[in-house]
């Protein structure tokens, strides 16, 4: 259970920021190119700020769940997500500020700060964990990209990039493989592997559309490898960029305001 942070930019989450242009000497051409592609992909979602509405559909062996969520974000460390639907959970909100995640529960009128014990728990009953959201904003610091494949696969001209964790990065994956559509530089799929080389889960991107003058995938589907038939799908209904927020917007006080 439990939630928090920004739902949406799961993409941003995953690809996020490599804001630093390629510079360091000693980085091979491939690495530099991989970095450039990842930066480009990340910039699809990344802006100074964003605001969007999305629906999330969760299908598990035990339940199906449909949520409507509204999201605001600024930079890579601040985000606010509020549940619009279903009514039972309406108003429940999650604030991520740096490494800290707060949840406001209208039913109990309490703000709870999530602790380490809940980090591996599911986020809003989906196949994402709270940890995914917190770690997402650190991808740039945590992984080194490298191109492992260029060419046509399943009929698509694509580039496959492998993200390997840096030695001191606190991430659980041994490897993330990202397929990027070469012509449009849009992500197709991310595959997450553990240290046994086992695929643990896959994140698929689709529904490429123009939103606020950007062409980007508006549908993301997370599929766990060991639970056949289960998935979580996030679909953007609207997305806008370049908003200006008051400094107090991403604060605990704002969290409580409905």
């Amino acid at each position: 259970m439990s939630f928090f942070a920004k739902v949406m930019p799961f993409a941003a989450v995953i690809f996020v920021l490599f804001p630093v242009p390629v510079q360091a000497a000693g980085i091979g051409r491939d690495t530099a190119r991989a970095r450039a592609i990842m930066t480009r992909v990340d910039d699809l979602w990344r802006a100074e700020s964003s605001h969007g509405v999305m629906v999330m559909r969760v299908v598990t062996a035990h339940y199906q769940r449909n949520l409507k969520l509204e999201e605001w974000s600024r930079g890579r460390d601040e985000s606010l997500v509020r549940i619009l639907y279903p009514p039972r959970e309406n108003g429940t909100a999650t604030l991520k500020s740096g490494n800290t995640v707060y949840t406001w529960l209208p039913r109990t009128d309490r703000v709870i700060r999530l602790t380490s014990s809940t980090m591996m728990a599911t986020w809003m009953g989906s196949h994402f964990t709270n940890d995914d959201l917190v770690k997402a904003s650190r991808l740039a610091d945590d992984y080194d990209p490298g191109i492992v494949f260029t060419g046509v696969r399943h009929g698509i001209d694509l580039i496959e990039i492998a993200l390997r964790p840096r030695p001191d990065a606190a991430v659980v994956w041994d490897r993330i493989l990202v397929e990027v559509d070469r012509s449009r530089t849009l992500p197709l799929v991310c595959r997450y592997y553990d240290e046994d080389g086992q695929l643990v889960r896959s994140l698929f991107f689709s529904g490429v559309k123009m939103m606020d003058n950007r062409l980007l995938p508006t549908v993301m589907r997370m599929v766990p490898a060991d639970k056949p038939g289960e998935f979580t799908e996030i679909r953007y209904q609207s997305l806008e960029f370049g908003l200006v927020f008051a400094d107090s917007f991403f604060s605990v006080n704002q969290l409580r305001r409905r």
């Binding site: 439990s2 062996a61 035990h62 339940y63 959970e89 429940t92 109990t108 999530l114």
Partner: protein, 410 residues
Amino acid sequence: MRRLPFITALAIKNIRRRRQRSLIMVAAIAFAVFIAIYYAALSEGLLANTERNAVLMESGYIQAHLPGYLEEHDFYQLINDFARVRAVAGEFGLAAAPRLFGFALAANGGDSAGVVLRGIDPALEDRVTMLASHLRSGSWVDGRSGVVLGTRLSRKLGAGIGDEIVLLAQAADGSIANDLFRVNGILKPVANEIDQGTIIVSVAVFRRFFVLKSGVHEIALGGRVLDRGEVAALTRVLAARLPGLEVKGWPEIAPVLARVLDSSRGALVVMLLLIYAAMAILILNAVLMGVFERVREFGVMRALGLGPAALFGLVMIENGIIVVCGGVCGLMVAVPLVVYGQSHPIDLTFLAADASSIAGVAIDPCWYTSLTVSVLAWPLGLMAGIAVIAAVYPALHAAFINPVTALGYD
């Protein structure tokens, strides 16, 4: 033995004539018997109680789960026919209590902790375990929002009786379960898991919170005192009657605990044997002395014409009367004390201020006595055996004594 009445009368006369010595012997034997019985009752009580407490603390004698639940603790592995299990258990005179478990985040002010929510049916649970009697303060769970916390968890959350805590979890339908609960009570140390991270609620509250209409994770069976053999036998029978369920007795659920209890039983038996040995030495001493110091007297009787058989009978009967008196006196002191100790334990709480544990289960710092057949039979039987053996040799000695030598014996 035609002359038995005569010899018996003679024996009684002898005993009365030598009242003081007889009294000392009776007292010594009574004392030995008393100590042995009392210690046996304490040991028996300690053993029975430690096992019963450990088992009834929270696990119960027998548990039923869906196969694999004990390893995976999958929230959706639910037993859906509690009523049937209850009915089958009822056929064997067992009560059944349903339990539900779910993970949650508990928060109180700035403090929070991951916890296991345990849903119980207070009335049914009470028939199967003694969990409710381990409340340290406050009151038990109710059907509304009252919850009970493990002791270390309450400290970690800084939550006292009457405080409101927030629980946050993923409900069975994937939604965000969250609610305010009132701390009704705080437990004494029970078992590590419960102390550190369990919040007890009623089944009704659990179902509402987790949006779970039916089903239970665990069914605990018990309701009467069962020994290990009965647990094993019932487990087998119930497993056959409840296909599709995994039925396990407590020694399987908590094997380390079972072995620890076995080995402490071994240690207590050794101690008990030593007490019996000390008792035997005392009785042996008393009986041997009582006979040997009278060798001269026996010589006189032989000289006066009492045959060896009669003399042997005399010694044995005299001795028998004294030993029986001693045993009866010992019983008369021991039994009331043991009975008293069944309800008034030796309370060692002051030695173990915050509880102590064996194999992760808190142990009761109170020693109750237990009155069983073996508690009385062993010391008394041993006493009789020792007394006979101790008397035969000197009695033979007396019977075949040469009167002249005996008269010179001092």
